[in-house]
């Protein structure tokens, strides 16, 4: 009987979890496509659940958006750091970072928050922000490139912020459009541009 109960609980928990995954999935798609103005009912419909089900886990629309955005940022952050880790010299790291960010931006434009001060981020999320992480990462890479002489001198923070501008979803989309939505080609152009601009 204890086993049965445990099995029931396990099964139930799995269903619940799948439901929440569908909610997050639906919310991510819709928010990514059309920003935070999507209606809760629409998210619910796309997820195949009732609105109440969403509110059970996310007490307000803002928190749902924050959760979705945070997840997207976490994921992106993870990919960025991993890509940077796998590359060996600073310019290679830059390349890898750019490529990853360009690929991420395609499907998550409205979610990836590269503003330094997301004023509307709920305070209780202790949101470190993708911006800060990426800025740090870039500054670190640039500084190390400067030490080994492969990147030209200049304030690493400022140079990093300039690179960041070329990684915003908005920029990504603009550039992609110029090469017929070929994200990799767009990234390539930026990489070459930065190489010229940053390299000694």
């Amino acid at each position: 009987m204890a086993e049965e109960a445990a099995a029931g609980a396990r099964r139930e928990r799995r269903d619940v979890q799948r439901n929440m995954e569908r909610v997050l999935q639906a919310a991510q798609e819709l928010f990514a496509e059309r920003g935070p103005d999507v209606k809760m009912e629409e998210v619910a419909r796309r997820a195949g659940v009732g609105v109440g089900t969403i509110y059970r886990r996310f007490p307000s629309k803002d928190l749902l958006f924050a959760a979705v955005s945070e997840a997207a940022c976490q994921d992106t952050r993870h990919c960025l750091f991993q890509a940077a880790d796998h590359a060996h010299d600073p310019l290679e790291k830059l390349r890898a970072i750019i490529l990853v960010q360009y690929r991420q931006s395609v499907r998550q434009a409205a979610l990836i928050d590269l503003r330094p001060d997301p004023a509307d981020a709920p305070a209780d999320l202790d949101h470190p922000g993708l911006y800060a992480s990426l800025h740090d990462l870039l500054a670190h890479v640039i500084a190390s490139g400067q030490r080994q002489g492969s990147i030209r001198s200049g304030d690493p923070l400022m140079l990093a912020a300039i690179c960041l501008a070329l990684l915003s979803p908005h920029t990504v989309q603009n550039l992609s459009r110029l090469v017929d939505d070929d994200v990799d080609a767009a990234a390539d152009h930026v990489i070459r541009f930065l190489s010229a601009g940053l390299a000694v």
Copy 2:
């Protein structure tokens, strides 16, 4: 008496015009500060008129926003072209463009629309877009720089789009923050960066 009536009409017309100027002024300030979510009543209050007066000239909020945004873009466009005209060689033109755009962005962040495809722009405005103008201008400048040898080779459209990224209000604000909100200093950094990246 005919004269009186005419004078009255003229006077009235002048009042009307002044009213509209105040509406546009108020709308510009508020939309620039806080984006399109400002309430119509607040715009009316700031302009010192009733909401009905706004609706007489602008049948919908979107059209008011579009008008304000369009005006800001026209103004910016004018300044940009003028600045470019006054400079003599391509790199100088670039510098001038950057400086102007940085100064404009400070007070009009939410109005300057540098997206190539303002999806939410009302179709009936035939919005040429500041983006297109600026893109063209930059491409033109870059191409001419390439012809005379002062700017490195590469697709001018792509290079212009990359420059554009460094001119988005968002980027302007990020960079400004890094130099204590000194817009000119931020512009200077970007100019130097582009000089290194673009110059032969």
Copy 3:
């Protein structure tokens, strides 16, 4: 023209005021009949306006209820004090108070708040409470009756609170029902009870 404007304003203001009176009237009737659970839409319908009109003056349902309740209490308070003033000796004052309260209670049961601590009263109303006023008034009357020997000794506050119990809308309705909803007859019984006492 100044006159015209002034006349327009005056007329308009009169209409607005009449609208608000109808809102208050509707709210009073409904809240008095069925308590605070009445729907805003129903209040609006009964007042012949849209919900937005109510919200223009009363930013929340609670504030509307508070306003209505406060108005009813103010009115009742006024009548009570006036009645007490017009009577000459303490027992007459008591009679007058009872009669007034009984008449008021018939149509305002759910609004007259005789609880000492209306926990749900919005703090910003500085709600002195009808309870406190009435308690004070009764205690004052009783004390003066005791001084002149027409009312038996005992803690005036406690005696006043006991009288208060006989004046609660709930009690009023119960007693009225026993004499076929004749409020005056019910008040009469209470007056005789208080005058003569129960025990021999």
Copy 4:
């Protein structure tokens, strides 16, 4: 094996009963403290069961509230009649009744329904009401006191209703507050008031 099954069934039935007792206990506590607005989920949580378990026995929230309220009233009724039975003369009976009711009211304010016509009571409960019982009891006591000369003349029903007013939970709480929440002291005041009367 039949025995086992029987034992199992018995055991199960016992569990069911204990569950319902916990539900009633929880509901009583919460409804008594905070009225009918308590959420079903909270009742379930306090009872240590799921909401479904409550709904199995009480098809609606109203019925649960009615059951709890009815139980409280039954209990109170029982105590009142017992107390009255143990006293010997009418004034003593009155005293006993008051004391009991005051003690009951402390923990069950929101449950003890002394309204003659609980309009919101579900019709299918055939709710006799504590009010009717208590009214009858008081009238009976008063009438017998009048017959033996220890209580002054007057309509027993009306006099009983007046006494009833002094026994409402609301009154009980008000008076108790005046003597620092000492319920027995408050009851004492009322007893003396009823015994001696207010006027000289």
